[in-house]
Symmetry: D2
Subunit: 271 residues, 4 copies
């Protein structure tokens, strides 16, 4: 199975991720028995998805991003839906899938959009624009295409600041000091914070999506994978909550307690 077979059926599905023969499995050229016990789970994630090595301070940054985003509580629609599903007579896998499925453009997409924004600004800097000017141009371009909301900054609940972001940024700074990453994206993120402060007259600090996006962009991953990695991370919370709900019990648990159903605002019933 090591090279294009000429059999159009076998060639219909092609992959550089996994090679297999009876008794043998290799992931991107490395035998599985050599990986088990020697690479960390985050390194395995990176190896499988990105196909490049990830070590030392860079691997620790990636691990920190995965750790930071595991859960934001049953108020989040994805977690709530996974808990509801767990009371409907489906397996844990389906409860988890229910939640992951809801990490769409709005609920799971801010990190992806922030990586795209940072990358765009970095490209402007590389074309010899000064950072403040590149940030200004990047924000303008983003708003023209995608609307007023800058992804990765500000938080409706965590005031004054999302506690995950400064901690993640500190780790990026440390990795940059060690030369493991350039630190250029962190700089861009802070410049965006400054620009938003100047615009609004109040702090609009980086949130979890903005901070993990700094890490993903520093590590060179394409924007859609920021959402992919977020899905891996949040799957942990989905599993934890679905399982806790199963242990609590409940049958067909709706969003609000039975006494508070919903409000009907349609036409009166014919009598």
């Amino acid at each position: 199975m090591s090279e294009p077979s000429g059999d159009p059926v076998a060639d219909w599905w092609r992959t550089a991720i996994i090679d297999m023969a009876p008794g043998r499995i290799a992931f991107r050229g490395r035998p599985v028995e050599e990986l088990i016990g020697t690479v960390s789970f985050p390194q395995m994630i990176w190896h499988l998805v990105m196909g490049t090595p990830l070590d030392g301070a860079r691997a620790r940054l990636f691990e920190a991003a995965l750790v930071a985003a595991v859960d934001h509580g049953p108020q989040a629609p994805s977690i709530a839906a996974a808990r509801m599903a767990a009371t409907c007579g489906v397996g844990l896998n389906t409860a988890m899938a229910t939640g992951v499925n809801m990490l769409g453009d709005v609920h799971g997409g801010a990190g992806e959009q922030a990586v795209a924004l940072y990358t765009d600004i970095a490209a402007r800097c590389a074309e010899d624009h000064a950072l403040p000017e590149a940030v200004r141009a990047g924000l303008d371009a983003f708003r023209r295409e995608a609307g007023a909301f800058i992804p990765g900054f500000g938080h409706r609940f965590h005031k004054p600041v999302d506690p995950r972001a400064p901690r993640l940024l500190a780790l990026v700074d440390q990795a940059a000091a060690e030369g493991a990453v350039s630190g250029r994206i962190a700089e861009i993120g802070r410049e965006i914070e400054g620009a938003l402060y100047a615009e609004k007259g109040k702090p609009v600090p980086m949130n979890i999506d903005g901070a993990t996006a700094v890490i993903y962009a520093e590590l060179g991953c394409p924007p859609p994978l920021a959402r992919g990695f977020f899905c891996l991370s949040r799957s942990v919370g989905l599993l934890a909550h679905a399982w806790e709900q199963m242990e609590q019990g409940g049958r067909n648990k709706g969003p609000t307690p039975p006494g508070h159903r919903w409000t009907y605002d349609g036409p009166p019933s014919a009598e």
Copy 2:
């Protein structure tokens, strides 16, 4: 939000997993900023889902189980479906959810069933039965309830042996030698191998599900979480394949090449 509020609406969703206030997030009592950068991703998974500490050789075993099961190729229906979904105009999250959703009792359940089987046999041993007798009784009981197929042993493709299993077992032995786990479940697993060999007259060696189930049972996790952790692990392969497929392109990619559609075996068409 730290204790039951007496507000029936707030009490409708209760959790011991996450506590939150503006600017503050704690997972099972530990502030998030203290966890980021200090615990590994597998430790975070265990902390969130199980609520107990996991360190040293035990954490390494858990990590090995997560690393081992990430992917088994586009022949697996879950991976194939995720790749197909990636050509249908949905987000990466939906492609991943499509695959996780399919890790049902048959595709994702063998590890869960194997943990239940091991745990049952361990309980029989604890009631003072000798190991061979407990294994025999456990296998009989399992077959009466669930049919002939013993989960976690034998493999249709990997002959003579699934390369992941011996490597995982070696790590369990090592952890047992260090006193980190009892090694009792590994012993049970091997006794099952022996019993199946005697029955069939040929080797029916432990496969990936049987071997990861040894680890999960040694660590004391309830059977359904074996499936839950498998879902976390396989989500990595789902992401890798969905992303690779998106990069390859394709629109509405079906299972087989266009020239080989399907066979109709119904009534002839009226003319």
Copy 3:
């Protein structure tokens, strides 16, 4: 494509549902252009799924069952989840799938279980047991296997009676009077109502699941299809609610209003 091809790839997917050639589509032997405009949507559903004709009073019964179960409001976890999904930046199809996915054994399975119960009792009658005795034996057998709860009878909310059930039963009676169905299953359902009344000392009337199951069993459909047809019916409500929610707007809408989040009942945070 009209018969087994001998090509193992084309034979891998076999179906009696659809036959196709360029410019030609036939469903179970009937050209599509002959079906469009001549069969009703319920008849098409039955034709495709069951492969047998369905006409006159029998078709009207099936249609009534599909009409009756379209929605039970945003308190149902499936509808709530579809509405939440609609605020997360996914397509209408994903919002609908989120809800259908949650119609599991508990949320969507009562009709399936009721068809199995009725069918079992009918088989006991056919073995020459009197109806009351067959009902008693059927209920006992069901409870031994599946627990105390008799599917399809009683309703937590609709007291004294689920308004859909008597209307559906009246239609079954009418079809039985016309000789379109036997009416035997309706009789069984009413005998179960009587037995439960005698047991509990209060009415436990048939609900929507019990009444649609009478129809499905009268029409001869296998138990799992009762859930399948329910999924088709409830998909209508899922679409209506997901679309209404999209029109209302909202981003990442959680289960309860922001002021009422959730209750934390875990360990105190380390300070």
Copy 4:
């Protein structure tokens, strides 16, 4: 529950679709027991989703669109995935959801895009442009925004023509002759066919998506609902195929037969 309650919890979920009290259910003001047995399933769909009456020739058109799109065979990724799911140990509901979930922008979106295109062209006509000019401007605008592919026209497999489209168009013409619809959208669709013919020098006839979109646009439904209604229709095929596969059996059925796995095109394995 008939009007805004002032209770912020009850007001969190608002709907004009369903009103409920113990023993009473009304859909958009009509008691359920009055609808059961008197409205057709398509009329119920329209009533619930659109909230307006649909009768006579208009209802028959809607029914024809629902009937026409139920299935396109196991080569379609959604149907294939539902069949695969059916072999993985999940319920029929999950197998169906797997397929619906994949009806994304590419696999399920052509009808939605075609309604938007027709509506745009109709608006240009209403601004006093001649039809050919409006079609030309509409196609140009669509291509600038969405690329070269005009949704709803041409078919990779059905040459020379998709057999469903002419039949659906004939029904629209008949309804227009009766004055039930304007017929204006059908005219637009045919003008697009003409324009594409002139461009390509060969026929690019309307396909199922283009023809059902004519019906949906004639009936005045917003573009996203074209996808929603398609999901309802295709759910029928998903159910039929998932059920047939369950009856055929199979465990973890992958896309291609075991002898034809996949092609590895990655780096060579380290030895």
